[in-house]
Amino acid sequence: MSRLKEIATELVEVARSAGADDAVAEVYDGSVDQIRYSNSMIDTSNYWKSENAHVFVAVEGRTMASDLRDLRLARKAVPEMVKSARASPVNEDYKGIAKGRFRYSRGRVDKRITSIRDPARYVHEAIGAATANGAADVGGTLFVRRSEWCIASTGGALAEDANASIDLSVRAFSQPESSGQAVLVTANLDKMKAAATGERAAEFAAAAKDPVQGETGKFDLIMEPLFLGGIVGATGAMASALAVELGMSMFAKKMGKRVASGSVSMIDDPTLKTMSRRAFDHEGRPTRKNVVIKDGVLKTFLHNTSTAKRFKARPTASTGPLVATLFSTPSEPVMFHPVLSKGDQSVDELIEDVRDGFYMNNTWYTRFQNYSTGDFSTIPRDAILRIRNGEIVGSVKNIRVSDNLMTFWKNIDALSRSSEEIYWWDEAAPPADLPAARARKMTITRSS
């Protein structure tokens, strides 16, 4: 038995001995190398390592979760957790954890990634390629992530998993207000193309030169996968059953109904070999492919055991981290890895069929007036290219997409036949496999 497995098993046994009815222990061992660079130079090289355990206990319907950051003290902390749980009010929402005899598929880690010793060379390759393609100023980040984790539970879960990935973000400026952004995310080192990523960012930056003030009104939009990443992330969060309960979702009362155009299918698939691949959710239930939207129709919400029982639905193995993160409450159902269906057109073909529109490289700051209606805006950044009569004719700046998220999905009329894995900062997140997309007649506004 591995060390992590021993710890996880022991923590569950300690919890059980202390009187817990249910217990889950998830033990992590991970490290990250990060390089941050700007002005075409490395600013800082960072490294962080942590070993910790997320533990959840339930006793007589009372629950408690803890991030035990010092594993040497974890065995002593768990009985205290059970004691604290006993002293807490009953959690009426709690309906149990995953129980069963589970079988897990463990993915293979690319050991070449775990053994990278000189990550800076990728940064220099990206900067060099961007500069060679006209970029005056290049910045970004490179992450090399390595993680092993193990879960044990009183429900019968016992499994280990590991992943390693590398993600590179390159933003290139050709002029002070002309930039392009490209990312590369992979769990397979063969796919690491730092120079090509830098080149692509520089190509966008070159295309974005001499931007003029963008017009307002209704326009067709063609969006890069990177742009879609933020929109898909916001949409995926609304598929969480908890979001539906809280009024944080435009999908409430829409089950089985049309929420997007027929060309849109959205799947959460953490089983793919990606940066977010995982064999089990945070209750220990084996992950699976969940079709959330099929041909434009809403098919399921994402559930943990408790929300599934409350909704009288089947669990979807979507339990998120047992403790709160910056973006989720404890055990909240989450989308791990959205996959958007591909279409049958090339990006050039998507453009050819636009009479009056924009080609958008990236976006950020997607915010909602009201999550239950989906009214929102997002700010395109990096290359915003003007399309007239099927051709790119220049670049613009200072515009905003101000519309409704369900309208956005219903107005998608075509997707590209190619897709890519994307992830950028916490904007295009979580990591996702996405094509380019075309949305008709979206509202563009700007400052006065």
Partner: protein
């Protein structure tokens, strides 16, 4: 109890492997607790203890940062070696220049009248239930009813090779909530947050219960009686929450020197402000925006920053002029000025970067009633929902949550989803009156990669903006 000697030994270790311009060792130990309720029932209870350390080394070749969730001499030894190796590996063409600062030696702490660690689960639950009761007591249809109270007690020790030694204890508590009011088949949402440094006694001072009760009634009234604003040019009165978000987004962020110098270019972005713009006009004479970590009890409070520099108020925009950037030692060194103590790290495993603390517009001399009475045809936007701003911090949008028409000097009916979409200079140049009373609102500011959430206040007085476009 933090073993300060570990920091000293770790610094020695750095010195044995390199001759850094600067090396810092920070040890952090914290206890955090969280409880939330949803629709009146417990949703989550959690607690954590954490201890870790980082070593940051600045060499001619670059900066290296290494951290681990352990505090020990052996961990310090490993981190010191690694940080030096990382700093060497950066191979910068330009040397990192740091500003020279007085090496401070200090111990500071924030007093708790009711220590957060002594507050029982029952008391936390009772507090959250009281908030829920304030909402349900309105008799309105409210969905969500999610209330979370979270607190943290952070002990830290910073030691640097240039002699700074700072020991601190910072307790901080916050409450955030989400409520959605339904009426006539329509909805309006409200996200609110309160936060302070200090002990549990601070939760009593917030007055969150009455405020939430009032907010629910306001949202119902907004749905039932609110009318859209006919697009056009109006006078706009911004309440402290709107003043605060504008101060934060279109003054605080663009005045962060790391953005100005491009250090955050691929994430949070650059800035429309350039180094040579100190002294340039950005707003009216009434536009003075201060960022001040020293406001007692404030959510963004600290006495020394994470580079050991003594905190002080920073006058970012002063009488409508770009006056002072937010600096850490790295940005100050590059621009040949002194740091103004803006270096903050949200947790020990993330590098310290330039951050705001409490950002607000300086008060003026007008009474609030007087300000409203001065508007013939306008809108009073007291709070906002949707907001965003571009990555150069020039184009911003605020959509109202609570807003009212103002006609002939009197508050008329509610205005629904009023949109202000405006450039940064236009916003600040349109101010022609500022009220006397200021209010500061707690918020979490996101920046950095990986994302670091910093506790901040944003706020100020009421502002009157003349002739801006609304819709």
């Amino acid at each position: 109890m933090i073993d300060e000697d570990t920091a000293e030994r770790t610094l020695d270790q750095v010195a044995s492997g390199a001759s850094p311009e600067l090396a810092e060792v920070k040890l952090v130990s914290l206890k955090a607790r969280e409880m939330s309720i949803k629709s009146g029932q417990v949703h989550s209870v959690s607690s954590s203890t954490d201890a870790g350390m980082y070593v940051r080394v600045v060499l001619d070749t670059g900066i290296g940062f290494a951290s681990v969730n352990r505090i020990s001499r052996s961990a310090g030894r490993d981190l010191a070696k690694r940080a030096v190796r990382l700093a060497k590996a950066s191979k910068r063409k330009e040397r990192v220049k740091l500003s020279h600062e007085k090496a401070a030696k200090a111990r500071w702490s924030v007093r708790q009248r009711m220590p957060l660690g002594d507050v029982s689960t029952e008391d936390r639950m009772s507090y959250l239930k009281s908030l829920d009761s304030a909402v349900t007591g309105t008799g309105l249809k409210v969905q969500g009813r999610f209330f979370e109270v979270a607190d943290v007690e952070i002990s830290s020790y910073l030691a640097t090779t240039d002699g700074a030694r700072i020991s601190s204890f910072l307790p901080r508590v916050r409450m955030n909530c989400l409520n959605m009011v339904t009426s006539k088949g329509e909805t309006e949402q409200s996200f609110r947050e309160w936060g302070s440094v200090g002990g549990w006694e601070r939760t009593d001072e917030w007055g969150a219960g009455p405020a939430l009760s009032q907010e629910m009634k306001m949202l119902k009234n907004l749905i039932d009686k609110g009318k859209a604003v006919k697009p056009g040019t109006y006078d706009l009165i911004c309440g402290p929450e709107v003043t605060g978000i504008a101060s934060h987004e279109s003054c605080g962020h663009p005045m962060e020197a790391d953005r100005i110098l491009g250090r955050e270019m691929s994430q949070a972005g650059k800035s429309f402000v350039k180094p040579e713009m100190i002294g340039d006009e950005i707003g009216s004479e009434l536009a003075t925006v201060i960022d001040d970590p020293t406001v007692p009890g404030s959510y963004g409070y600290y006495e020394y920053d994470d580079e050991g520099v003594r905190a002080k108020p920073r006058f970012l925009y002063k009488k409508g002029v770009i006056n002072e950037f937010l600096h850490n030692r790295e940005t100050a060194g590059r621009l040949g000025v002194k740091s103004n103590a803006s270096s903050r790290s949200s947790v020990y495993w993330k590098e310290p970067i330039v951050r705001m603390a409490n950002t607000f517009v300086a008060p003026g001399d007008m009474g609030e009633d007087e300000m409203i009475a001065s508007v013939k045809d306008g809108v009073y936007m007291n709070s906002f929902t949707e907001w965003n701003i571009d990555d150069k911090r020039y184009n911003q949008k605020y959509v109202s949550r609570e807003a009212y028409f103002v006609r002939n000097g009197k508050v008329a009916g509610p205005a629904r989803n009023c949109v202000l979409e405006i450039t940064t200079p236009r916003f600040w140049k349109s101010i022609d009156a500022v009220s006397k009373r200021i209010e500061l609102i707690a918020a979490e500011c996101g920046k950095g990669d990986p994302m670091q959430d910093a506790a901040v206040y944003a706020g100020g007085p009421m502002l009157r903006l003349r002739e801006v476009n609304l819709r």
